[in-house]
Amino acid sequence: MRYIPSTKEQQEEMLKEIGVSSFEQLINNIPNSLKLKSKLNIPSALSEFELEENILEISQKNANFQKFKPLIGAGTYRHFIPEAQKALLQRQEFWTCYTPYQPELSQGTLQTIFEFQSYIARLTKMEVVVPSIFDGASAAAEAILMSLRLTHKNKIIVSKLIHPHYLKTIKTYLAPHNTIIVEIPFENGLTSLEHFKQSIDNDTACILIQSPNFFGGIENIKTFSEIAHQKDTLFIQIITESMSLGLLKSPGDMGADIVVGNTQSFGLELDFGGPHNAFLATRKKYIRQIPGRIAGETRDKDGKRCFVMTFRAREQDIRREKATSNICTNHNLNVVASNIYLSLMGTEGIRQYSLLNAKIAHYFEKKLLETGKFEKMCEYSYFNEFLITYKGNDINRLSKILIDNNFVPPLLVQKFYPDTSLQNTLLFAITEIFNRNELDSICNLLSQ
């Protein structure tokens, strides 16, 4: 077997040096009754050639995603990924290594993490950035647990317009903590400010608002955060489309205490939903309560600037059951990927791409409305994702036309919000991967 170098002879030699006559002697302390009596009942080993054919064949049961472009976002967005980033990610030193516990052999990873923390701090105007929690949903749950520890309160308020998977995840994480969860309904595609005002009180630990929200709408963050702060409630902003950070006001300037951002848009593939990554950014005064790993700057004994994992006294391998979180392995390689992506995009690139995303989505909405087959669902401001209502009867036909023309159809939001009047309402996400001709031809298809 090409992944197992030791030959039979070498194995025998080693057994002899160990002082046993057979391998079985080494596993004597496993009760005989538990040892497998026969081989595992799984298919025989495939050669590399057979494996490749086998997996290629399965992959071809998917649509041809080389050609297909998604008109759907809903928490994960297809953006262009530069080849230079993909090429750098091939360097084994970044992906075959372990968590950087030994800084002398891990400066590549540690400096990359530090740079990523620096980029995110500048994009969000926050002070401390936990670079990696698994995804936006688990990071949102961790942010709430952090707010419960910080405030010693036990009630939280959550907008119904955070990603529905995030809301479900939050409920799962909070189940053991008897937390009161108040869900705020929406009006006109935005979280209801009135309901929020009625729900918040001095016992509220935090409020979670996603902006742009699940319907794409940009929330009035400043107003929410100001009201929250009057009640000593922490304001948590969730961002699923990080590309919006290049154009929209920074959460830190709008009063956010904790920001959770899904960074899939920064150079990560859709990958059928994972692995993606999320950061958790906050204020320095809260550093002792953050979950997960961060990198910090220090010196080696020769005075050189270098980087280490720091503020480790919060972590599970040291504090065990008193740790701020159980998280150990995170999604570090995706931090490396996003850091390379942000370096390539830089100051100008992120601005230009986020501008382009906003313009292209609004162009497409305008064109859809011009067909006469669609109408606006709500009057709100959005970034690159918007709701629109199909006036026709057969929404399935619409999906079929799109699929036949190599587009993944938009999300029918009723799938996640069955109890509302959102029948025939579609959620489109339009990014820079589309050009004008394509968008015009989609409108033509849909107006037939």
């Binding site: 992944y3 759907i72 599970q316």
Partner: protein, 501 residues
Amino acid sequence: MRLIFEKSIPGRVGFSLPTDLFDDMKIVELLPDDYIEKDKKDLSEVSEVDVIRHFTKLSKYNYGVDDGLYPLGSCTMKYNPRINEKLAALNNFSRAHPLAPIELVQGSLEIMFKLNELLCEITGMNQFTMAPASGAHGELTGILLMRQYFIDKGEKRTKMLIPDSAHGTNPASAAMGGFDVVEIKSNENGTVDLESLSKAMDEETVGLMLTNPNTVGLYDEGIIEIEKIIHEKGGLLYYDGANLNASLGIVRPGDAGFDVVHLNLHKTFSTPHGGGGPGSGVIGVKSDLIPYLPTPLIDFDSDKNMYIFKDVGSKSIGMIRSFWGNFSVLVKTLCWILSLGPEFLYEASKNSIINANYILAKLKEYYKPAYDRFCGHECTLTGREYKKYGIKTLQIAKRLMDYGYHPPTIYFPHFEPYADETIMIESPESEGKEILDDFINIMIKISHEAKDSPDLLKTAPHITPISQTDDALAVKQAILTYDDELQNKDKLNYSEENINF
């Protein structure tokens, strides 16, 4: 090394733009002024060439499995096959949107469905969820579903038993699940003390989280009694799969009576660690716990002749993440299992066990083992002999770097009186005998140096890009971003040599 920000030159770009920027759409007409940042956000300004050189140089300051032996105990740093990387990155997989209509993603669903079947056979469990993103995430999932199981049965159980040799994630996950942690001491054989376990287990206790072989690398031969003790009181047995690399094709946690199992696909199943993830911590359960798994599962609908998402139902703990799992990691896992088949899965475990016992046999005279008995896929030695020469285990580890090796896991596991100053060595099946011989010789050489020239160890490492780091200073100065550094520029007063190397 200089930061990307220090290489930034105004006006440089590393991106390209399409020709049509939709300039007919005016942003001021699309979005209210209050929502838009007036100025660009300052990131960095470098060319594509700069980026390639910056990260290529940074990569050289890392050490990976492809550089050589990476003997971290309990981490299973094995070779990551290239073909698996290629197949997981196929456009048809990597560009599949998780909310695309299921008829467009039948291949992706088939991967998850098939992997479930194989993992069930390998572990003796009945159903896996592919959702958990890491081992600890899997632990939390497992603990929450055990909690739900007892709530459903109308039983109030508040405690979780965890051996002192367990990974820190076990107690941390139990605490996140709302349970009080009760620590079970190890006995003189390095395994769970049955008497303490018996005393601690009662009808207010959920059960036991056990790693087997444990973190000292020892099979718990008391497993049959352990299973009885836990199940007799109605409890559940949780298997931490961190060390499954000692068991493939030899023994299955499902047969040993475990009710919930997590696997670290990034350990046993060859998927890369990525410098700290992404991995995957899939959870397998016995039939009576399937109703509590996170939703959804993948099923095959024979009427429609297609794979579908199946809602787990009202007893499910819900979701533990967005979307369905760390999909690309699942593809790589499936590829590895199919490449090895039953014979070589067994050979993988067999070789990792031989490797660990070989290292133990050759080094026990120089580094006293925590327990002098045959081990599983990893052995736990100690550096305590060298305390009298003023040498700490940390320094032995750092000296290994001078000889081109990544150090083993040190100071873990730690429990008195058997396991202190520990050096836990794991050399998976992908390491051949001559690599081990070289490593063994170096370890012996270092043991002599510890006595004869301890300063060599105390000042190690000498040939790495940086020398020993000041971890306390990192906390004291709390520089966590480049802007923090800029604010402290005068105080830090770095010379060119300090930052440009």
